[in-house]
Each structure stands twice: as structure tokens, then as C-alpha cells.
Symmetry: C2
Subunit: 357 residues, 2 copies
DNA sequence: CTGTTAGCGCGTTCAA
DNA sequence: TTGAACGCGCTAACAG
């Protein structure tokens, strides 16, 4: 009734467990006859190695843990998707752990990963967690993606500041002057960098600033958008801290009878898949999200394999690219689909696949 | 340099490993003094139990594996999100494995899960995989969600047929007659059930049918939508096999200068988050995706805990609910955001959270 | 080339 | 109440 173990196979094949192991792992010298005997026993017993036991003995789990605050929205799911693609390619598994509201929870999650994973990718935006991570995990390779340019530690950050500057400069170049910013939540590092970029670019152009705080959600974008639309000094452009808020704002503006981009131009950040599906298509700063996720995973695996080699403590910077769509420029070609979005390397062919949804 | 083990803690606390274990697991009688000594040693050494080793000894991993064909699109990511919420609540981890193009790969993935998980949720649409699953996994509890009403095995299926009938009847009731269907890919069970529902409802109403095959992707929906828009006998309504294709078709129709719903009414399936963000809002059949994912996980965990109890082999049916939005009925209130979408139980408060994206 | 044996880190009997 | 010893299933030395 119970699953067969390596010992069962050995008995049935009339060899030692060591031989079975050799055959299955491909390591060590084995006679063709023994190999055959083993293989026969294996599929007679439907034997499948117990990866948990193997992990204990090799101290390699072939699994990467991903700690993130949330799985809500397209940003994180795209990221996970990219990581998953990379993991598969490298023979790794992915164990995700999300919904960590505070640093406490996040570090508990990290702790519970010991003995379960070979490395960790941490996206928790909590500063503390980043520090806790290294101490708690105890020599577990960690790749930080929490937005803080954590120099001296392997990490990947988006150039949020630079991206924001690009956004504002684009709006200015297309004739906008009253440019408002819907920021992400206070305390979020990404949000603060984007805000700083906005402020800097506006100051450089000698323009007055308007900042309203959102929460990186579509609902908050909608709320703030409605509020801005109702102001007497209505802005003629809005730079939202991310695409979800931009989409929310777009709908609010349209509900208020305003036209995008004629009355108000709109720019988001991230280039999530939705960005090109809304009407008008949303101008945004493209992060190749899935690709970033994939390369993050690959880098971590490299880190795991290197185990103690000349430390890779670089802080890789991802530079977002401005993608102009009709939400900020009526002249932008309003390609509707699968047009301006390049197939990223983390994508698989889907046109005729067997994917169910 | 290396992480401390239970033995290190025992030595430092000057007790046996058994006592340390008792203190940490909370099982067995322990003196207050020993407990204190142990705890001191624990945080002096920053000790964290090795969950892999614990799993081997207890033969419980506290981990659930999820096998799915793809992570692309909002359907699966919502599902995963719901599962993750449930997992956290129950103290379980989630290990995801996707991108299985064929049954071969899928079963390999399942096999590699042995010793790594306590149970499996399988969403692979490959018929074979479903059967292989039970044989390969060897007494590993499995919950099937692959669309086939696999009676006699624990499973959850969506009433695709019934949902499709609802969609068609709604379109007929609002005066449409030339109703076309963009189906999902052949061989996909969900797609075929929806197609069957469409055909049946149309036959019952004595209406001629038009079916074009898509691939459940937005790109394929766009392609088919453009093709339908160009036909001389243009349909006055389209029922798409899922929301992503419906969105693609909507954009294609609009690109062709047609108005939705005046010229062509549109109905999708799934009610992914995007459905209420496009303009006009998309009429669809709501599956509470995250909730479904969450309850799936909870049920599997119950199955794991039951281990051999009176078998739960029920085939739970999720009945989709028609949500009418402007894409099929101009009179439908065009609420823009966070309006008609109820907060599912798998949701967390986000309005003012610290989620970074 | 093969078999024996010692761990991997922890939970858990069973005596004491 | 505590500790010593065994086993979880497997890999990797080391003999043979």
C-alpha cells in the first residue's frame, strides 16, 4: 500500500541499495546487467525516489523560495511566471509565500524556509525584512528585489527614479504643464523613488507639483483620479506610480466626462499586460517583468551553485523603457493587440497551445 | 559558519536532543528550567529547525503541490492567489509547477513531487495526466481540477455547459439571433463543454450556429474577432470561450469601427479582473476564481489529514453566475471600478496596504 | 564493479 | 521528566 523505497527496489532486483542509487542518479560505474535488473524492479514497483530524503542527504533541495508581500495584481504574477519558466529550465522548483503584511510575518516565512529551499528571492518591501533575511536564513543565498538599492548584497532593482524622470519629461515634451502624481504608499521604497523622480524632474522644469498618495491599487487610482478630475485647477496630465493606479484613474476621468489624452494625459509604470488593453492604450514605463523574474531566478541559482565563490554582491539595475501609447499622445499608433508588446523570452508559444484558460 | 542543528542546541543547553525537540514541538512534558535553558540556547545560536529533516521523520511536509499547464493570464494567477491565501491560513506552503506542454512533462512534474509535498492539485487539461496522476504519485492525495468530471475521484469542476447555456440564453433574451462562438482549443475539456453548451442552447432556440476555434488567448480572440467582423453575414453577438478571448475580440471589433454592444454584443467566461476594466465592461460568467482556489486547497488539506478515512470522492461543481455588463446590454449600469466585484474571501484589504505594486 | 556502512537533521519510542 | 537509540529514505565514502 505504501510507496516503494529504494530498499524495496534493491531487494527485488537482488542488489544493494547503493547500486540502485547509482543507476538512478547516473553516477558511478554500473554493469549493464545490474542496470537492467534495477530498472525492471523500478518500474515493476513504480518506484519514484523520495526527493525529501535525497535532499537531506545531498543537502540540496533543488528548490527556490520566493517571499513576496502579495500575489495580487499583474505585476507579481508576471514576475512569478518568469521565475517559474527559469526554474523549470534549470530543474528547480518554486515555492511561493506571499501575503506578508509586516516584517514579522515575512521573517517568519523566511525562517520556515530553512531546509526546504536552496536559496531565496525576497521581494518584501519592508526594510527590516531585508536585514533580517540575511541573519535569519543563516547562510542561505538571498537575492533581494525589494526596491532598496541594497549595495553589498546581491540584488536587482528597477531604476524607478530614472523612469519617473522619463515619464515627466515625456509629458512636458508633449506640452503638458500641470502634471500631477499619484504616488504609491508611503514607506514603499519603489513608490518613494518614483515620487522623488517626479519631484526632481518637475523642479528642473520649474513646474508646480501636485502629489496625492495612492496605494498601488486600481481602486485607489480610481479614487484619486476622481478627486483630481473634480478640482478647479484640474491637472492636464497625471503620472501614476504604477499601471494599476493609472488604469483606475483613467476610468475615473472618463466617468467624469473627461477625455484621455485630450483633457488629461496619463502615464503609468510597469507595463503590465493590461496596459495595452485599456482604451486608450496606456503610456507607461516598460519593465520586462517576466524576463526580470526569469533572470532573477537564474542569477540566484548561479549564486547557489557558486556557494562561497568570489561573492557576487552586485546590485543589478533594470532600466525601464518609455512606451508611448495613445493615453499621452493621440498620435501614437493605437495598435490594439500583440502589436507593440514583444514576446519576452519567458513567454512560450500560446497561439495554438493546450493551455486551458 | 554553518547553520546550527538540534544537536548544537542540545550541547549548549546541556540537555539531550530529545528535550530540545520536546520544547520546540510543544509535545511531551518538560520542566520549566529545561525549557528556559533550551530557549536560551536556541536564540543564542539563532537555531531554526530544518524542515526538510523534520519532514523526513514525520513524513509530513506541510506543503501542497500545484501542477498547472501555464501561469499565463489572469485566470491561473487568481487561482494561485486564492490557494496561497488558504495555504497560509492552514500553515501550508505552496509549490507551483507550470508550463507542462504535454502529458509526459506533466507526469514527470508529478513524479518529482514525491517526498516534497503532502498532496497535489492537478489542473493539467491532459486527460492522460489525470489518470497517470493517481498511479504515479503513489497514494498521494490528489485533487483534480482539470475540467473533466472525473467521478469517483476528488475533484472540482466548473459547470461550463450550464454557464454557456446561460450566456447564450442571455443573448437571445436581449434580442440577438446571429450568435457566434469563439471556442477554446480542441482537446481542452473546459473548452469543449462550453462549446457543447453553446450548441445545445442554440439548437434549442432553433438558431444557426457559427463556431471558430481560438486558443483561450487574447491574441487569438483578436484574430478571430477581426475575421468575424469582416464577414458579410456578420454576427450580432459573440460568445467567447473565456474573457481573454472576449477582450481580444472586443478590441478587434472596435478597430473595425464596430460598436459594442450596439453592433455586436459580447459575452465572455471566467470574470477575470480585467473584465470590468475594459470599456464597455464585459458581460461574463463569474467564477469566483480566488475563492475556488482557496476552497480547493482547503479541501485537499482536509483530504491529507483524513488519510484513509471514508474517502471523499465527490465531484464538487462550481456554478458560474451571469454578470451582465454593458458589453451585452447598454442599459447595464456601467460601474467602473470596485463596484460590482464583491470582495472575495480570498482577498485581503488593499486600500492602504503596503503592497508594493 | 559492487556491497556495507555511516551519516543528513529531526521525531519518537522505550527505559531509566 | 529525561536521555539514548533507532528510523525516516537516500547519497556517498570506503572496502572488498
Amino acid at each position: 500500500m505504501k510507496a516503494a523505497t529504494i530498499r524495496d527496489v534493491a531487494d527485488r532486483a537482488d542488489v544493494s541499495v547503493a547500486s540502485v542509487s547509482r543507476v538512478l542518479t547516473g553516477a558511478g560505474p554500473v554493469t549493464e546487467t545490474t542496470r537492467k535488473k534495477v530498472m525492471e524492479a523500478v518500474d515493476a514497483l513504480q518506484y519514484v525516489p523520495h526527493s525529501g530524503a535525497r535532499s537531506l542527504s545531498t543537502s540540496k533541495t533543488q528548490t527556490i523560495g520566493v517571499i513576496l508581500p502579495d500575489l495580487y495584481g499583474e505585476y507579481f504574477s508576471e514576475l512569478i511566471r518568469g521565475m517559474d519558466v527559469g526554474a523549470r529550465a534549470l530543474g528547480y522548483h518554486l515555492i511561493v509565500s506571499s501575503s506578508h503584511d509586516d516584517a514579522e510575518e515575512a521573517s517568519a516565512a523566511i525562517r520556515s524556509m530553512r531546509g526546504r529551499v536552496d536559496g531565496l528571492i525576497v521581494l518584501s518591501p519592508h526594510l527590516d525584512a531585508a536585514n533580517l533575511a540575511t541573519s535569519l536564513a543563516g547562510r542561505l543565498p538571498i537575492l533581494l528585489m525589494n526596491g532598496g538599492a541594497d549595495a553589498g548584497r546581491p540584488s536587482i532593482v528597477v531604476d524607478n527614479h530614472g523612469g519617473a524622470v522619463q515619464a515627466v519629461e515625456h509629458l512636458i515634451a508633449t506640452g503638458r504643464r500641470r502634471i500631477a502624481h499619484i504616488s504609491g504608499p508611503t514607506g514603499n521604497l519603489e513608490a518613494e523613488s518614483r515620487l522623488a523622480g517626479y519631484l526632481e524632474a518637475m523642479a528642473r522644469a520649474n513646474l508646480p507639483t501636485t502629489v496625492v498618495e495612492g496605494a498601488f491599487t486600481q481602486a485607489s487610482g480610481h479614487q484619486v483620479g476622481a478627486e483630481l478630475a473634480a478640482r478647479s485647477e484640474r491637472p492636464d496630465a497625471i503620472f501614476a506610480g504604477n499601471d494599476m493606479m493609472a488604469v483606475g484613474a483613467m476610468l475615473a476621468l472618463q466617468d467624469a466626462g473627461l477625455s484621455v489624452p485630450e483633457d488629461v494625459a496619463l502615464v503609468g509604470f510597469d507595463d503590465v499586460p493590461i496596459a495595452e488593453l485599456v482604451r486608450p492604450g496606456l503610456t507607461t514605463l516598460r519593465i520586462r517583468i517576466a524576463d526580470t523574474g526569469r533572470s532573477a531566478l537564474e542569477r540566484l541559482v548561479r549564486l547557489v551553485d557558486a556557494a562561497g565563490a568570489p561573492a557576487d554582491t552586485a546590485c543589478e539595475v533594470v532600466r525601464p523603457e518609455l512606451v508611448v501609447r495613445p493615453s499621452s499622445d493621440p498620435a501614437a499608433q493605437a495598435r490594439t493587440t500583440s502589436g507593440d508588446r514583444p514576446r519576452d523570452s519567458a513567454s512560450l508559444p500560446h497561439l495554438k497551445g493546450e493551455n486551458p484558460q
